[in-house]
């Protein structure tokens, strides 16, 4: 029982950064913008988040630092891809390269430092319920925020007028423009939301997952978040399933290493990446009847006047 609870807790912790980053990218992509710089925004969010928490001693301020850093990074992307109509794939790659360098520069002074990890909720009585107590009532704040975030995204995209307009920009920017919607401004907001989420997801790693900062600590999670958006067919509900499945694969391989299964640890560590490739292949194959991607995803839009 103890072990089951520990595994569920570990899976939730591993899934949370993926879920937060992917929720943001999902909104960005539904507006028709493919921002491949998630990894870069995350890693800068991680460095700035740790810096904020270390300087102030507050996890909350650290998370805010991460969000602001991710948003600023995404504004560079918006300026390039929306303002200057540059190819979005190339711009996203540039953002990742820049982010890895910047995070090394910012984080260099903090390597080896430790902070107090994020507080976990504790409600006397409820948290002590066996098996589900700590899972439901004993998480850190990020886990609850991630759940609220994905519900909010689902509600916004599917149930509000603003969400409908955002999706219209993603499916046909020419029509949306003709109807008088400011396509580029809406997309800028969507990109900024994606950046804020990526920054928060990055900050989660040094603030709650491990209480210290190491360069390159995102280890490809930003790219896995991108793959999760494809996996979800751009639907928030499926994104939750995908994120927790990936968290489970990550934890499974860690536990398998701990149990001394006779497979070299490097092969187990490669599992999440191989699983991503496999999932992309299987899903794309199953989707022969037409793509579910936003129709204008990744295309350049320059309004004519």
């Amino acid at each position: 029982m103890e072990l089951v609870e520990a595994i569920i807790l570990a899976v939730l912790a591993a899934s949370t950064p993926l879920l937060i980053a992917a929720a943001g990218e999902l909104v960005t992509e539904r507006s028709g913008v493919l921002n491949l710089g998630v990894e870069g925004m995350m890693i800068v969010g991680a460095a700035c988040g740790f810096a904020g928490a270390w300087l102030t001693g507050s996890t909350f301020i650290g998370a805010l630092f991460g969000i602001v850093a991710g948003t600023l990074m995404s504004l560079i992307f918006a300026l390039m891809a929306l303002g200057l109509a540059v190819n979005q794939v190339a711009t996203g790659l540039a953002l990742t390269i820049l982010g890895i360098g910047l995070s090394g520069l910012i984080g260099a002074g903090f390597v080896g430092e430790r902070i107090t990890p994020a507080m976990h909720l504790h409600i006397p009585g409820l948290t002590d319920i066996p098996l589900i107590g700590r899972v439901l009532f004993g998480e850190d704040g990020f886990v609850y925020v991630s759940v609220a975030l994905i519900v909010g995204v689902w509600w916004f995209l599917g149930r509000t007028r603003a969400g409908l307009i955002l999706r219209a920009c993603g499916d046909n920017h020419v029509s949306a423009h003709a109807l008088g919607y400011p396509v580029l401004r809406i997309r800028t907001f969507a990109v900024m939301f994606g950046g804020a989420c990526a920054g928060l997801a990055g900050a989660y790693l040094p603030l709650a997952y491990t209480p210290f900062f190491i360069p390159g600590m995102t280890a490809g999670r930003g790219w896995i978040a991108l793959a999760l958006v494809v996996f979800s067919s751009w639907r928030p509900g499926r994104l939750v399933i995908g994120a927790y499945l990936f968290g489970a694969v990550t934890i499974l391989q860690l536990h398998a290493q701990g149990w001394g299964v006779g497979i070299p640890s490097q092969f187990m560590s490669a599992l999440p990446y191989l699983a991503t490739v496999l999932v992309l292949v299987l899903l794309s194959r199953a989707r022969t009847g037409g793509s579910t991607a936003p129709a204008a995803l990744g295309t350049v839009f320059v309004p004519d006047r």
Binding site: I100, G101, G220
Partner: protein, 363 residues
């Protein structure tokens, strides 16, 4: 009053030529600001980065050595990008090539194997790199899976595989438990071009690759097809060019070149297989490809320039304690400016003044 983009009637030739230079200039200005923020003398820092490495023979050779993998990988990537196929996993193909070639070097170690060893290593490395690159290409062509994500995921897999080999079965028994293989035999080593220097045969191979790519793109139907498929997919279809076939071809070629670059690096400057044989060559090569405007000669110049930043970054770290990450920031900023300046080839800015007579749109 606001600035808006407007499509030019035709692409601007002047800006096409000037854009990489403008981009480098803007990057230098940004770097001066960054050095000032870091509390370093900007002029001394720029001197350490860009001038000092050009003043002694050893550094000049070192620049050519660093440029060799960058140029080889970037040439392959440029073919992919011209055909609108996004291979961003060159780092993984580089590592797999290094592993495959090292296998022959380790198998023949201590035997009296002759001069065939090195050529066999090069061929096997290229083949392995090509096969590794074909995984994302086939996933894209057969199943429609995004080659961007699959090629990148395979970088992590390749890193872990290399790590397993040098910590496990291939570890040098006399290596004091360091994760490295034994030093390669002389027959398994890329010969030096200058006795006692650093410059090796790989640099000559890179020049051949540049020449080959220039001929392929400028003088052959295949090269024309690659450019048409990327620039005008619809026209290419009518012209009878098979886009899927060209994706497979460009991925295979770029994988082979990355694999070749990998074994040349291991059998040349490094001398044995170990983790960290690449300071991110596969990713920096993306910048080289764009800075070189996806043109073989441009890539040669761009590769030498980025190699200079690697060497200059090391010297600036030793001389002025400037962190090595500044080099990565520099490279990222440079790519941004290159892409932004390229946009001005097709578009121009126009100042729109608000007019009281014309009602603003419904938005």
């Amino acid at each position: 009053m606001q600035l808006v983009l407007e499509r030019r009637a035709e692409r601007s030739g002047t800006i096409a030529l000037a854009s990489p230079l403008i981009a480098v200039g803007l990057t230098l200005v940004t770097m001066i600001i960054l050095f000032a923020i870091l509390g370093k003398n900007p002029l001394l820092a720029l001197h350490a980065y860009f001038i000092a490495p050009l003043t002694d023979g050893y550094s000049l050779q070192e620049i050519a050595v660093k440029a060799t993998p960058l140029v080889m990988i970037a040439i392959g990537l440029s073919l992919c990008y011209l055909a609108n196929a996004w291979n961003i996993g060159a780092e993984g193909q580089f590592l797999i090539g290094a592993v495959a070639g090292s296998w022959i070097a380790l198998k023949t170690q201590g035997t009296d194997a002759g001069a065939w060893v090195l050529p066999a290593m090069l061929v096997l490395a290229a083949a392995a790199g090509a096969l590794y690159a074909l995984i994302p290409a086939i996933c894209r062509v057969k199943f429609g899976a995004s080659e961007i994500l699959t090629s990148l995921m395979l970088v992590y897999v390749a890193e872990l595989f290399l790590d397993y080999l040098v910590r496990g079965p291939w570890r040098d028994p006399q290596g004091f438990n360091f994760p490295t293989t034994a030093e390669f035999d002389p027959v398994a080593t890329v010969p030096l071009l200058i006795e006692g220097g650093r410059l090796h045969l790989g640099s000559a191979i890179a020049l051949l690759v540049v020449g080959g790519a220039a001929i392929l793109l400028g003088r052959t139907i295949k090269g024309f097809g690659i450019r048409v498929v990327g620039a005008a997919p619809r026209a290419a279809r009518f012209g009878g060019f098979n886009a899927n076939q060209l994706i497979i071809l460009t991925f295979a070629v770029s994988g082979a070149l990355a694999g070749l670059a990998g074994i040349i690096e291991v059998a040349g400057p490094v001398g044995h297989l170990q983790p960290g044989i690449s300071p991110g060559y596969g990713f920096t090569a993306i910048i080289v490809a764009f800075l070189g405007r996806l043109n073989p000669l441009g890539i040669l110049v761009a590769g030498l320039f980025l190699a200079l930043t690697f060497i200059g970054g090391e010297q600036a770290q030793i001389a002025m304690k400037i962190p090595l990450d500044v080099t990565k920031v520099f490279q990222g900023i440079l790519l941004f400016y290159v892409l932004a300046c390229d946009s001005l080839i097709l578009y121009r800015f126009k100042l729109v003044l608000p007019s009281r007579q014309v009602a603003r749109g419904a938005g």
